[in-house]
């Protein structure tokens, strides 16, 4: 019922790449949904995480949200939101359900980014007479970037693999190939769609990992005499 040559033939057939439910469109849609959810989560979580790290109060929120969110199945949350807000707002429900899993790692990343800056740096910024806002803008935010990107990487991995659930509420993305393929017992399509998702997940997380490493050099720059 499934074989590697079948899979290769499936990929080779241009019919499976073009059109509304072709791989190209679904791929772009998958990436667009992922980015929109990450953006929504970042707008909420990053300022909040920076503020918690800056003031040092509200740390329970970072830890609590992290452990609670792991125990909430996204599929159930998504279905509940769609029923609650109506099918017409299902795009929004999807983004909220996805943002819910992206917020805890982003929050933790921003918070840890600020709190792991050596005390001396934050204190000297204060001693220079910088206001609270200036310290966040010119000291804490730039130095926390690497950790925030690290949080973004974890959030990306989880969101990009959860977008697969979108077709269960009638939306698109590469999960469409999986859900439709399962229903039609077209397992080449199922495996092909899964492979594409795995590839974009790995590429995206490598990209963010590389970005994280590059921005990490700001806090811990290589010694000038050290050969790279």
């Amino acid at each position: 019922m499934f074989s590697i040559p079948d899979l290769a033939a499936w990929f080779a057939d241009p019919v499976h790449w073009d059109g509304r439910y072709g791989l190209w469109f679904l791929l772009l849609e998958h990436i667009a949904i992922t980015l929109a959810a990450l953006l929504l989560a970042a707008v909420v979580a990053l300022p909040l995480g920076l503020a918690i790290g800056h003031t040092g109060s509200g740390e329970f929120l970072v830890i609590g949200l992290g452990s609670i969110s792991r125990a909430v199945p996204t599929m159930g949350l998504l279905f509940a939101l769609v029923l609650l807000w109506g099918v017409q707002l299902r795009d929004f429900s999807l983004l909220v359900a996805l943002a819910a899993i992206a917020i805890p790692p982003l929050l933790a990343g921003a918070y840890a980014g600020v709190t792991t800056i050596p005390w001396g740096i934050r204190d000297s910024a204060k001693a220079q007479g910088m206001t609270g806002f200036q310290r966040i803008r010119y000291v804490e935010f730039p130095l926390a970037t690497s950790s925030m990107i690290g949080g973004m990487r974890i959030a990306f991995i989880q969101v990009v693999s959860t977008v697969v659930l979108a077709p269960l509420v009638g939306l698109g993305g590469l999960g469409f190939g999986i859900v439709q393929g399962l229903a039609l017992r077209n397992y080449s399509q199922v495996v092909a769609s899964s492979l594409v998702i795995i590839v974009i997940t790995i590429v995206g997380s490598q990209l963010l990992g590389w970005l994280q490493q590059r921005t990490g050099d700001r806090l811990d720059p290589p010694h000038p005499l050290e050969k790279k």
Binding site: M1, F2, L7, S67, R70, A71, V72, P73, T74, M75, G76, L77, F79, A80, V82, L83, L84, I157, V160, S161, T162, V164, L165, L168, V169, G175, I178, V179, G181, L182, R185, Y187, V190, V191, S193, S194, L195, I197, I198, T201, I202, S205
Partner: protein
């Protein structure tokens, strides 16, 4: 609530299936990860890290349906879900286990070796007990995510608590979805509490007389 009381035995049955699908992967995955974290040679650590973080990046639904193609298991049924959950539990637990073992002070290990302990004795009597706090906190993370991830198995025909989400959505019964969410959450929290108690019981020297040593 009414829906829950009217269907309590049905929900209980689904919860039992859910538990049975979660427990085997949790136990198996954790043991493999803990032993693996200790056995992998320093030379292979970067490679293992790359492979396991790539494995962890695979979408669960995708792995549930890709497994039959890879290893020839039947497409529908609990086997794939259990294998996939084992793989995820192992990939995630491996990193916590490695951190936990690296926190055992080298001087303690040297002392144990100097006392004449064999590598196996060193592992069982020194490294494992001292790594317990780290291992337990890793297990708490893994158990919560495994319990909630198992629900997705309902999409590939496993009748566990995730079935409440699918059925509740198709038949427009919000209470059914709510029941599922609460049930999964309760099971996850029960695991969390159990592991916390286990951690306390296994490390009596940390809490004896109210003093943390």
């Amino acid at each position: 609530m009414e829906w829950f009381f009217a269907n309590a035995s049905f929900v209980a049955g689904l919860a039992l299936t859910h538990l049975s699908i979660v427990i085997v992967p949790l136990v198996l995955g954790s043991i493999l990860a803990i032993v693996g974290a200790r056995l992998v040679r320093a030379r292979w650590v970067p490679g293992t890290t790359t492979v396991l973080s790539a494995v962890y990046a695979i979408p669960s639904l995708a792995l549930f349906v890709a497994l039959p193609a890879l290893i020839g298991t039947p497409f529908i049924g609990p086997t794939n879900v259990m294998i996939a959950l084992t793989v995820y539990a192992m990939a995630s637990m491996y990193f916590s286990a490695r951190d936990a073992f690296s926190q055992v002070p080298p001087s303690t290990k040297t002392t144990a070796t100097a006392l004449g302990m064999s590598p196996l004795q060193l592992f069982v009597h020194v490294e494992l007990p001292m790594a317990i706090p780290g291992l337990i906190s890793g297990l708490r993370v893994v158990s919560a995510s495994t319990v909630s991830m198992a629900a997705i198995g309902a999409v590939v025909g496993v009748r566990n608590l995730g079935y409440l989400f699918l059925d509740g959505f198709q038949r427009r019964i919000p209470e059914e979805i709510g029941t599922g969410l609460v049930a999964v959450f309760v099971i996850a929290m029960a695991f969390d509490l159990g592991l916390w108690l286990l951690g306390r019981a296994l490390t009596p020297w940390r809490t004896r007389g109210g003093q943390r040593v």
